[in-house]
C-alpha cells in the first residue's frame, strides 16, 4: 500500500469497526460520541505518524489509541454522569468501566449489530442509507452528497435527524431475534442493492468514488454471509449478482469516463476471478423455497458474464426475464425481455411484441425499437432514434444516440 493512501484506506476499514464496538459497549445512543472518539484518534494518528513515520502495525496502534481515548474521556468527563451513565446502568452498577474488546470476533459481531440497528424500520430509508455509508463505510458527508447528487448540508441534516431518532426511540444495539432478522433482511438487501447500484449506474463521473461504493456494498454483503444467522440464499444470490456486475467494472467505461456498451466491451478486461466468485455464490444461493427476484437477476447476470456465448444463452435469459416479470413488473425489465426475445426469435417477432408495450414516453423504448428496426427498416429506425433523443435527459446517452444516428445514415 502506498503510504499516502494508508490513512484513507485505514479510515474506510477501521472507522466502522471501532465505532461499532464502542456502540456495542456503551450503547447505540452514544453513536455521536463514538464517532468523535474515532475521528479524534485519526487526527492523533495523522499528527503522530507525520513526525514519527508509520508504526509497524497501524491497525493495532489505532485500536490502542482509540481505547485509551475512550476510557480517558469517560473518566475525566464531568458530564459523564449525565451523558453515558444512564445507558451503562442497565449493564452494570459498579464504577468499573467496561472492557473495550477489539478482537476480530467482537468486531464482526458489533458490525453485524450495527447493520441491523441502522436497518431498524423506525429510521427512514433515505437516512438508513446515509447512515450506512457514514458509519459502516466511513464516507464523509461530502462524499455521500456526491454519490447521491445531493449537497453536504442535506446529508448532514439527514444523518443528524437519524441520530436523534436513535436516541429518542432508544433503539437497542442487540442482534434482532431470528424471526426479526428474517423480516429485516428485505431492508438490508434493498440497502445493499441501492448502494451497489448507486456506484454502478450513477451519473457521477468520479469513477473511483463509484467503484468504492460497489466495493463497500460487496464488503457488507460478505460480512452478512460470514454469520450463520444471515447466510441466506437471497444474500448469496445478491453477492453473486454483485460479483458478475463488478467483473465488468474496468471494461464498461473508457479513460474519460464515457460508457462502453456491453457488446462493445473488451472482454479480456473482464475480471475472471470475480466471475468465478459469482459462480460460487450463485451455487450457494440454491434454496428449497421459491426462486426470488434476486435469484433471477443473478442468473441473468451469470449468462451475461460468460466471456464466450454459450449455447442457449439467450433462451435462458429470456426465460429468466419471463419469470422476473411475473414476480414484478418493471418497464426496464419488460424492454430487456423484448431484447432477449429478439435474440431468440428474431427482430420481427420482437418488434411485434415491443409495439404492444405501452412505454412510448420512455427513451429506452424508442432505443430498443430503433435497434430492432435498424437491419431492415432504416426509416423507422431513424424516427425512433430521433424520438429517443427528444426524451433522453442524460448528456452521455444523448451523445450515444447521436452517434447511432450518424452510423445509421452513413450506412446508406
Amino acid at each position: 500500500m502506498e503510504s499516502n493512501q494508508l490513512i484513507p484506506h485505514l479510515f474506510r476499514t477501521e472507522f466502522s469497526k471501532i465505532v461499532s464496538v464502542l456502540c456495542k459497549t456503551y450503547g447505540f445512543s452514544n453513536i455521536q460520541w463514538a464517532e468523535d472518539i474515532v475521528s479524534d484518534t485519526f487526527l492523533t494518528a495523522t499528527e503522530t505518524w507525520r513526525l514519527k513515520g508509520f508504526p509497524e502495525n497501524a491497525t493495532a496502534w489505532l485500536y490502542r489509541v482509540a481505547k485509551n481515548k475512550a476510557i480517558d474521556q469517560l473518566r475525566r468527563d464531568n458530564n459523564f454522569q449525565q451523558k453515558i451513565q444512564p445507558d451503562l446502568q442497565k449493564k452494570e452498577t459498579t464504577e468499573e468501566l467496561q472492557e473495550i474488546d477489539l478482537s476480530d470476533h467482537n468486531i464482526q459481531d458489533s458490525q453485524l449489530r450495527m447493520f441491523f440497528a441502522i436497518c431498524n424500520p423506525v429510521i427512514k430509508p433515505k437516512a438508513q442509507i446515509a447512515l450506512a455509508l457514514r458509519i459502516l463505510c466511513g464516507f464523509n458527508a461530502q462524499e455521500i452528497a456526491n454519490a447521491f447528487l445531493s449537497n453536504k448540508e442535506t446529508i448532514n441534516k439527514r444523518i443528524h435527524r437519524a441520530k436523534a431518532t436513535i436516541k429518542k426511540e432508544q433503539i437497542q444495539f442487540d442482534l434482532p431475534s431470528p424471526s426479526e432478522i428474517r423480516e429485516r433482511l428485505e431492508e438490508v438487501i434493498s440497502i445493499l442493492y441501492l448502494l451497489f447500484n448507486e456506484g454502478y449506474y450513477s451519473t457521477s463521473t468520479d469513477k473511483n468514488l463509484r467503484k468504492e461504493l460497489c466495493v463497500e456494498a460487496m464488503r457488507l454483503n460478505l460480512l452478512l454471509l460470514d454469520s450463520p444467522l444471515t447466510n441466506t440464499p437471497e444474500l448469496n444470490a445478491l453477492m453473486a449478482l454483485f460479483c458478475f456486475h463488478a467483473s465488468r467494472f474496468e471494461a464498461r467505461s473508457d479513460k474519460s469516463g464515457k460508457q462502453i456498451l456491453y457488446h462493445e466491451q473488451d472482454r479480456s478486461l473482464w475480471d475472471g476471478e470475480l466471475i468465478q466468485k459469482g459462480e460460487y455464490f450463485l451455487g450457494q444461493s440454491h434454496s428449497s423455497q421459491k426462486v426470488g427476484k434476486i435469484h433471477l437477476e443473478a442468473l441473468i447476470a451469470f449468462w451475461h458474464a460468460q466471456t464466450t456465448d454459450l449455447e442457449n444463452k439467450w433462451e435462458n435469459i429470456l426465460s429468466a426475464y419471463n419469470q422476473l416479470l411475473q414476480l414484478e413488473y418493471s418497464p426496464v425489465v419488460a424492454l430487456n425481455r423484448t431484447y432477449a426475445l429478439a435474440k431468440v426469435k428474431g427482430n420481427e417477432v420482437a418488434i411485434e411484441e415491443a409495439l404492444k408495450i405501452d412505454l412510448s414516453d420512455h427513451h429506452l423504448f424508442h432505443m430498443l425499437l430503433a435497434e430492432l428496426y435498424t437491419p431492415n427498416n432504416k426509416i423507422k429506425a431513424e424516427s425512433h432514434f430521433k424520438q429517443a433523443l427528444e426524451l433522453v435527459k442524460n448528456e452521455n446517452e444523448k451523445l450515444f444516440i447521436l452517434k447511432k444516428l450518424e452510423d445509421l445514415t452513413s450506412q446508406d
Binding site: 433462451e315 429470456l318 426465460s319 426475464y321 419471463n322 419469470q323 416479470l325 411475473q326 413488473y329 418497464p331 425489465v333 419488460a334 425481455r337 423484448t338 426475445l341 426469435k345 411484441e353 404492444k356 408495450i357 405501452d358
Partner: protein, 114 residues
Amino acid sequence: MKEFLMLFRRDPNEDLDLSPEEMQLQIKKWQDWIGGIAAQGKFIGTNALANTGKTVHPDAVITDGPYAEVKEIIGGYLLVKTDTLDDAVELSKGCPGLLDGGTVEVRDVMVFDF
C-alpha cells in the same frame, strides 16, 4: 383496468405421450407467451391444474379423476388486467394451447361495490 380470467380447456388425453423434450418445449412456449403479457404489465397470476382430482356430487357421492371419459378438462388459468374484454381476448390469441386444439375461455371477473 379490469380483471379477466382465461380458462384453458384441452383434451385430457393429448399430453400422455409427450417426450421430455416436448414437455420442455411446451413449458417454454407457455412461458414465452405469458412473459409477453407480463411485459405489457397486464399479468396478475397463473396456475396450472393437474389431471387428478375428485368431484363431489349433491348426493355426497365422490367420484375420481382423471376423467378419462370427458373430452375436455380445465388445464389451468391466467388472470390478466386489461381495459376491455376485447383487449383480454386479443391477449389470448397467442396462447400455445390453441395450437394444440384447446380453447381459451375469457371471462369478466365480477367486481362488487359495497
